[in-house]
């Protein structure tokens, strides 16, 4: 084949198109298509013509959690910066854990450190869960001056406030804590469009169990998990741990992990499947050694229950 006269003599000098080169071309084409599909999948807004987005000026760093196992399950190895994310507590009692996980996720996002976080709360949800306490927020890298709290009566008002915040742009994030309204999908669809328009991440903390779909890009379920012992205080609680489950994520893979949040380093750590409960607490007789001041006389703090002896523990 190479010896024959060909219409293009130049081709004789060219090396033949090897199999590896063909594979490379094919993979670039595939890559391009994959990116395109990914973009389409994650941005259906540009398809139905509701909102066409301007191209990004510069690709920002992906919003990573810092735990490889979790980042691997997310599209493009990170969360979407300007999308809506739904973080649901597993039970009502896990609202503090869900709020903590939301704040921890935001702390992983470096670009908007020091920007204001808008926290929209429904009055009922707020009175149930308690007031936001600025000193408890500082371990998550939130200064008291950078938090704005809006309390509204109805879920519709909370959603309105969230949309205003998301459209404003320039905020670190907008967090909405509310009980799910009837038309949840339509409402969250508006929010995700606003989030894309204002380039601000929105986080939904929906109180109570609900089976309604949301338009959020990712959906997490968070529950508290028993912590490891504090290295300095063997019976004291250590760093907070959460069982998180990625229930649904556009372009990602669902999964479940247990993570630990370290306040000092502001980082997540993956907790191995078997928890390292300290033996001191698993065996009560061992606990006695740790707590030498323990006395047998134990009684109830409640006046009505005084005198009830309680053994063990």
């Amino acid at each position: 084949m190479q010896g024959r006269a060909v219409p293009r003599p130049v081709a004789a000098d060219e090396p033949p198109v090897s199999r590896s080169a063909r594979t490379a071309v094919r993979s670039t084409v595939l890559d391009r298509l994959r990116t395109q599909i990914a973009r389409i999948e994650r941005r259906p807004a540009s398809l139905d013509g509701v909102r066409t987005r301007q191209p990004r000026p510069a690709a920002p760093e992906p919003w990573r959690t810092g735990v490889e196992a979790i980042d691997g399950a997310l599209p493009e190895a990170g969360l979407d910066h300007d999308g809506l994310h739904d973080i649901a507590p597993e039970t009502c009692a896990d609202m503090a854990a869900a709020a903590g996980f939301a704040l921890a996720l935001l702390a992983c996002r470096q670009e908007t450190a020091g920007h204001t976080i808008l926290w929209c709360r429904q009055k009922l949800a707020a009175s149930e869960a308690g007031a936001l306490y600025a000193r408890g927020l500082t371990p998550f890298g939130v200064a008291p001056g950078t938090l704005m709290v809006v309390t509204a009566r109805t879920a519709a008002d909370v959603l309105w406030a969230m949309e205003e915040g998301l459209r404003t742009g320039g905020l670190a994030a907008v967090i909405g804590e509310l009980s799910p309204p009837d038309e949840l999908f339509a409402a969250t669809r508006r929010l995700s469009l606003a989030a894309a328009g204002g380039r601000t991440p929105g986080i939904l903390l929906l109180a109570g169990r609900h089976a309604q779909p949301t338009a959020a890009l990712s959906r997490w379920a968070v529950a508290a998990a028993p912590s490891a012992a504090d290295p300095l205080d063997p019976i004291g609680p250590g760093c907070p741990r959460w069982r998180i489950a990625l229930r649904r994520c556009r372009g990602g893979r669902p999964g479940a992990w247990t993570v630990e949040w370290c306040h000092e380093t502001c980082r997540f750590h993956l907790v191995p499947a078997v928890s390292d409960r300290s033996p001191a607490l698993r065996a009560p007789q061992a606990a006695d050694d740790v707590r030498p001041r323990r006395r047998p006389s134990v009684r109830a703090g409640d006046p009505g229950r005084q005198g009830i002896a309680h053994h063990g523990g």
């Binding site: 503090a96 408890g136 371990p139 809006v150 509204a152 134990v298 703090g301 309680h310 523990g313």
Partner: protein
């Protein structure tokens, strides 16, 4: 016809034109009146509702001047100093007022004079057919709908009397002394003295007059009223609402019916007002936009700002959110934009480095304003640390957008405080070691939790300087974790060895 319940049945308090012609008068008993006129229609008189209507009318008069107040049960004061030229002079203003009120169904007597006292007297006692016409110009109102009613001359249509400048004395002289706003006691005395008109009273030498009265209060009051009417003594009156220093109004030839048209006018007024504010280096803290409807009602919209601003686009947006719900009714013919509260706002030199941050900060403040105007100023807050060790006092929620104080708060280990604080602390039933061990199990919100890990106690003593009664007890705080890994912040108030048993509370939730 209006009636009130009296000691001997219902008595008439007010009658309309038709009832007057039928021979009825205030003070009669309703049963007597029914005997005269069988088909009588009567309503119970409600002075409260009358007063409310008068106040509404006062607000409506804000279209003429910002300076309006009510006077007694049936009068209104309007300070029209510097306002008359907007309506084509004093005649124009009074004519407009009389005609509009007649359209709304009110019969009015308007007096306009250099002093409030003279205007009061002229409005109530001067008529077009009296000799006061020499010193005054009279503006006649429209003929009442029931034309023949005014033929007997007993009840005149609405009219206004304007005292010409410099002829105050001539105008007041023929009026009865009752025009001086005197008590019945004083009027009786003056009548006994034969001083029927204000002119006669003014002619009497002052010292002589004082001698005629017993006591000191009465002559002083008569003389001071006379001086007030003649303008020798100032008579300050306070308006219903504070008069804004910055105020713009716009009249329309035809009433506006759509919100879009009103918003367009609002944009123009805001631009003009912001130029005024910029000239003086001021920014508005509160703004009011009043719509005067043709049916005599007023719709006022007020927006508040967390920081002074004179930016028309931002202010327009705030109003836009609120005006969406305002109903134009039968049409709006006057709008007034005022800034009752302003503060200094000087232009500041910004450096290139701080510009991005300043822009972002301004965005946040604008957002706070919008949220505040929708949900109220107490609903949009930010936490501010306070120097206190008592957890609930260590933080105060202040309005968002307000400038941060320099209170730094107390230094505490980073993770020693919960993310959520229960306010107030919720009581819990706790099983704990005595005397000061950590909780072993506790029941809170009807669920019993077994404590697996606990840290504490952290003792926080009460702030004695805030507690004069001395009954506050020290608290021992514990951070505990239950079997599921949820973390709580509990505290014990008091000690086990005290007479009063200690009480346990859940105060916060850790993340």
């Amino acid at each position: 016809m209006l009636v009130i319940p009296g000691a001997r049945g219902l008595r008439i308090t007010a009658v309309d034109e038709a009832a007057r012609k039928a021979g009825l008068a205030p003070g009669m008993r309703l049963s007597d009146a029914r005997a005269q006129v069988p088909g009588l229609v009567s309503e119970i008189h409600g002075p409260d509702r009358d007063a409310a209507a008068l106040r509404r009318l006062a607000h409506w008069c804000g279209r003429y001047t910002p300076w309006v107040t009510t006077d007694g049960p049936d009068g209104l004061w309007l300070d029209v100093t510097g306002c008359a030229h907007l309506f084509g002079g004093e005649e124009g203003l009074v004519g407009d007022l009389v005609h509009r009120l007649a359209t709304l169904g009110f019969t009015t007597r308007v007096g306009l004079a250099g002093t409030p006292g003279a205007a009061w007297a002229v409005a109530r006692f001067a008529g077009p057919d009296r000799e006061t016409a020499r010193a005054c110009s009279v503006v006649r109102g429209p003929e009442p709908a029931s034309g023949p009613a005014s033929r007997d001359g007993e009840r005149l249509p609405s009219h206004g009397v304007i005292v010409e400048p410099g002829r105050l004395m001539q105008a007041l002289a023929p009026l009865p002394v009752a025009g001086l706003r005197l008590s019945d006691e004083a009027l009786t005395l003056l009548r006994r003295l034969g001083l029927a008109t204000i002119g006669r009273l003014a002619d009497v030498p002052r010292t002589g007059l004082a001698c005629r009265f017993r006591g000191e209060m009465l002559p002083n009051r008569v003389l001071s009223r006379l001086d007030q009417a003649l303008g020798l003594v100032d008579e300050p009156l306070s308006p219903l609402a504070p008069v804004p220093q910055y105020r713009l109004r716009h009249d329309f030839a035809e009433p506006l019916l759509t919100t879009e048209a009103i918003l367009a006018v609002l944009d123009r007024l805001l631009a003009a007002l912001s130029r005024l504010l910029e000239r003086d280096g001021k920014g508005a803290l509160r703004m009011t936009f009043s719509l005067y409807r043709t049916d005599g009602s007023v719709a006022a919209t007020t927006v508040g700002l967390s920081r002074p601003s004179r930016e028309p686009a931002h202010l327009a947006r705030l109003f836009r959110d609120r005006l969406e719900t305002v109903d134009a009714g039968y049409g709006v013919d006057v709008v007034v934009l005022g800034a009752p509260e302003v503060a200094d706002l000087r232009p500041r030199q910004t450096s290139l480095a701080s510009m991005a941050a300043a822009g972002q900060d301004a965005d946040t403040v604008r957002l706070a304003d919008r949220l505040m105007n929708r949900f109220g100023s107490t609903a949009v807050t930010r936490p501010e640390p306070r120097p206190s060790h008592v957890p609930e006092r260590a933080q105060m929620m202040v309005p968002a957008g307000s400038h941060g104080g320099d209170a730094a708060g107390t230094a505490i280990a980073a993770d020693a405080r919960p993310l959520l604080l229960l306010q107030p602390p919720e009581p819990a039933r706790v099983i704990a070691e005595v005397p000061e061990g950590p909780p072993i199990a506790f029941t809170w919100r009807r669920v019993t939790r077994r404590v697996v890990r606990a840290r504490g106690p952290e003792r926080i003593a009460p702030e004695w300087w805030r507690d004069p009664a001395g009954d506050a007890r020290p608290r021992d705080y514990y951070a505990v974790e239950d079997e599921a890994g949820r973390r709580y912040w509990l505290y014990r108030e008091g000690f086990y060895d005290e007479a009063a048993a200690p009480r346990w509370f859940v105060h916060g939730l850790f993340a």
